[in-house]
């Protein structure tokens, strides 16, 4: 028998499998393979199990959890990938498989895919919603700056801020803006600055670079730190065409580091203009108020009862005073308005802030003297009124009696007698004197005028 010529070697399954394993693992050192992901499973162990296939064949793949840290995207069924690994045999099942230690999407860059996946996820959580974005302070007390202490970005930012508003207070938290440590440092910086009470806005900046250079700004932990930062964050990463996850989460996205300065720091002259404009309106409304009161005064005076109308000299005097008061006020307001105009010109020219303060105290002095002027004129008017009262007193009939005249009244009707023709002999009359009165009887009536009777 043929079989008898060779010694029979009987292997156990384990031995055979071990032999196959040795051959395979020796023959296929670290290699790259491309294919489509299917049957992806992630059990509770966290290891990734899937099949890589092409049109004709397939191979099982396992990727242990410890290898997944380097993954920049989440594998999904149907995604074309390139895998790096070694072929090994799973002895228990007698199956060969690829032990994968790196995986990247084929075609589209791994980073791009990772970016799109994270963007979609955060967008669905509402982190990019305009409604949750906070307004920036108009005039920040102190600006937190998170960027590299050595790059061009920090220099540009400080220069532009200084040109817009010299003396702005800035606190720089230096961080690495690329590399493995960058995300952690950025997170630490945002957390630290966000807790300081005097920081009311943070600029997160980096100059231009490749997608790999800017990668730290696409990390989820950075997005999370921006999202939970207690003060508004302005992102300014790369050039105008670069968009990072940080840009989407930030309260405001500035196209460049320089652009961030323009949104965070207002022009000093603009702010000063705004304040000066309010002061001007304040002064004008006060002027109008005085004018209004004056008009009211005039209409009240016009509606006064008859007796006062008779005292035209006093009315004239009042008009005169009113006219002078009006002229004084108009002149003051005009002068003040002109002064405000001149002041504004100087304000725009150079270092106007001190003059602004001077202008205000000047305005206050002026208001003070206006008040004094009004009080003075009121006192004059009061004195005139008192004089008028004594004049009124002098023309009162009682005063005439004092000069020896008396009034004759009929009895008992007590009607004033101005004509002797109405009297009859024996009629009773009452005569009133400056002091006291007398009861009389008519003994003779003379109807001629008093002049003739005296003759």
């Amino acid at each position: 028998m043929l079989t008898e010529t060779f010694p029979r070697t009987v292997l156990t399954i384990s031995e055979l499998t071990r032999n196959i394993k040795e051959v395979i693992e020796r023959s296929f050192p670290l290699l790259w393979v491309s294919g489509e992901v299917s049957n992806l499973r992630i059990p509770s162990s966290g290891h990734l199990y899937f099949t890589l296939k092409d049109e004709a064949s397939q191979i099982r793949v396992v990727m242990f959890r410890s290898q997944q840290r380097k993954l920049k995207f989440v594998p999904e069924d149907g995604v074309e990938v390139i895998a790096q690994g070694t072929v090994t045999v799973y002895e228990k099942r007698g199956e060969y498989q690829l032990l994968c230690d790196y995986l990247e999407p084929k075609g589209k860059g791994a980073l791009q895919l990772a970016f799109e996946q994270l963007k979609a996820r955060l967008a669905s959580k509402g982190w990019f919603d305009e409604a949750r974005k906070r307004p920036l302070p108009l005039f920040p007390a102190r600006i937190g700056l998170v960027t590299s202490a050595t790059g061009a970005a920090v220099r540009d930012i400080l220069t532009v801020i200084d040109s817009r508003f010299p003396g702005t207070s800035i606190l720089l938290y230096p961080v690495q803006v690329q590399g493995d440590y960058a995300p952690g440092e950025i997170v630490e910086a945002l957390n630290y600055l966000g807790r300081l009470s005097d920081i009311d806005v943070i600029i997160l900046a980096r100059g231009g670079g490749s997608i790999e250079d800017l990668w730290a700004f696409n990390e989820e932990e950075v997005a999370c730190a921006i999202y939970s930062c207690p003060v508004p964050v302005v992102s300014a990463v790369g050039h105008e065409t670069d968009f990072t996850i940080a840009d989407f989460v930030a309260d405001v996205r500035a196209p460049t580091p320089t652009g961030a300065c323009l949104v965070v720091v207002q022009n000093k002259a603009d702010l000063e203009d705004r304040v000066a404009y309010l002061i001007r309106r304040l002064a004008q409304s006060m002027g109008r108020l005085v004018e209004m009161r004056r008009t009211e005064l005039a209409s009240v005076r016009a509606g006064m009862p008859d007796p006062l109308n008779r005292i035209w000299p006093l009315t004239q005097r009042l008009d005169e005073l009113g006219l002078r008061l009006n002229t004084a006020l108009r002149f003051s307001i005009k002068e003040r308005t002109a002064e405000m105009g001149r002041f504004r010109e100087r304000l725009l020219l150079s270092s106007p802030s001190t003059r602004l303060s001077q202008g205000i105290s000047c305005l206050e002095d002026h208001i003070q003297s206006l008040k004094q002027a009004v009080h003075f004129h009121l006192a004059v008017v009061k004195k005139d009124l008192e004089r008028y009262l004594s004049l009124l007193n002098s023309v009162s009939p009682l005063a005439v009696l004092g000069r020896g005249y008396s009034i004759v009244l009929s009895w008992p009707e007590q009607k004033m007698v101005t004509d002797a023709a109405g009297l009859s002999i024996g009629q009773e009359l009452r005569a009133k004197f400056y002091r006291g009165s007398a009861h009389c009887q008519v003994t003779q009536v003379n109807v001629n005028n008093s002049q003739k009777e005296d003759d």
Partner: protein, 72 residues
């Protein structure tokens, strides 16, 4: 008080005065308050002193601010 809050208050006073519906006494009070706020704003704009600082960690890991001047 923050700059924009002060500014907003001043704007409110100016608008009330311009509406002309206040009593004389009240107008004067508002006017004086307005002048005070305007002075505060002008002072805030004027008093910003240049202060750029960098946070540095020492050997103990404590973070302290130091003056900062960017490299030319």
């Amino acid at each position: 008080m923050k700059f924009e809050e002060t500014l907003k208050q001043l704007e409110g006073i100016v608008e009330r005065l311009e509406a002309g519906e206040l009593a004389l006494e009240e107008s004067l009070e508002q006017f004086e308050e307005g002048i005070k706020l305007a002075r505060t704003l002008a002072k805030k704009l004027a008093e910003a002193e240049k202060k750029v600082q960098i946070l540095l960690k020492n050997e103990e890991g404590e973070i302290t601010p130091q003056p900062f001047e960017p490299e030319k």
